[in-house]
Subunit: 258 residues, 2 copies
Amino acid sequence: WVEAQTSQKLGYVEQLYTFGDRYRDPGGSDLRSLSIGYLALVQEAGDAGVAEWRDWYRYFPWEDWRGGRPEVVNRILGRLKKWTQEAGTGAEKRLREARVRRTFGSTQLPWNDEPVLERYELLYEARLVPEAHRDRGMKAPWSAEVINEGDPMIADHRRILATAISRLRGKIKYRPVVFELMPPTFPLGQLQATVEALSGVRLHKPNFRRLVEGLGLVEETGQTTTKTGGRPARLVQFRREVLIERLAPGLRLPIAKL
Amino acid sequence: WVEAQTSQKLGYVEQLYTFGDRYRDPGGSDLRSLSIGYLALVQEAGDAGVAEWRDWYRYFPWEDWRGGRPEVVNRILGRLKKWTQEAGTGAEKRLREARVRRTFGSTQLPWNDEPVLERYELLYEARLVPEAHRDRGMKAPWSAEVINEGDPMIADHRRILATAISRLRGKIKYRPVVFELMPPTFPLGQLQATVEALSGVRLHKPNFRRLVEGLGLVEETGQTTTKTGGRPARLVQFRREVLIERLAPGLRLPIAKL
DNA sequence: CACATTATTCTCATTGTGAGAATAACGCCA
DNA sequence: TGGCGTTATTCTCACAATGAGAATAATGTG
């Protein structure tokens, strides 16, 4: 059905989650609509009918740490600090502080790429995203109240997208699903760039190569490309055999410490 | 609702999966019923109304490797070998062989505790479980056809249970959910026995202790117990603080290699 | 009091990980 | 044509994590 709608060939598909929040019905009745979300990966396609490419960091700019700590994170942390101070009791305050530290990190805790949904839900609860006001029946503008970076979406779609990003960021670490996003042959640098785009963090290039080659996920094609600039890069391809050989292998990226 | 039905206090709860197979409707109509499954963990309770304790290995005896390789695995591998040989083409035969190797292991590949669902689905496809015959409208007996160890369940319930076991075996490796199954204080040996019961494999005791203590998941109570036999064991308790401090920590058991 | 039993602590070889230096091979441009 | 910027690729090394087993400790039992 999706392939007919979008004229995109779906690669990997998995069920994501079944969403059934009260906020799903904008009419506010007690009837709930259920959405069974699926996550699919496709190759890059130039133009594909109704479907159109979107950068997901447009909706989650705080999730993109590829260029170092994003500015918006500081603004968010400032707002969340205010939110923690609005807590009723001291215990609640400490809970809120811990939650902010856990999701957005601190000087002690490094950034963790996976809890995308937890971060979004925290922003929602702290009413820093427009959806939180909208779902409570408040009318615009809330411009002074919310974080302006990061486009909102209708209904609970941004929550669904956050769930998908979380799932995908987790998945690439133990299953070789990134390759569903790659062209048939590619240089290792492009593979790394793809993984970095998904996880939102920069990786150490030599270690990344060691990992990919050590796991036997790719094989030589014998060709090279000069499109990358600099020294020509070897073109490799995914070793499809690993799918039938083994169950586990993904790209265990430097996972959050402590 | 579940707590009211079972008079069990639910600890951890998460959505498992939404099941919608055609086999769900025994009437065979084109209407499908959806089941949104949830997974919950509870403390051990002596007696609890309609709810009653069941050993899940009653349904999946091949998943219990705590006493070494179970006898039934050999019988299964024998049957699956026959199944691979019934393949139409040579390519299909190699695919089947690889799949058996991947799920049930081989002399090269060690046992992997997680793919419980993949294993069950393989047995289903190879028609080694009664459900496969039943869903095709075949009448009993199929005793000569199927693996007799492992009780069947109605509808797709055994598939749902397999999904739950897979999920839980994965989860304990990166979230401290085992503690939801433990009493308030316990010796480390009992914790290890619980993890072994869930994962179905034996663990190296000194290394397990090092791991649990190194992650700071438990704290001393000062008490000991002699109930374990042998040298008295220290009673420890779960450090609830880790739940608010960190996101990651689970008991990364010796994960399958290669 | 020897012994079986479980708990607990240590040791050690091996592997995996994170970080950075060093080297290679292009295009571009003076 | 050679220096330079750029990206690719290979090496090295310190350090942490892991798997396995030995050694030691503290009970109850016969």
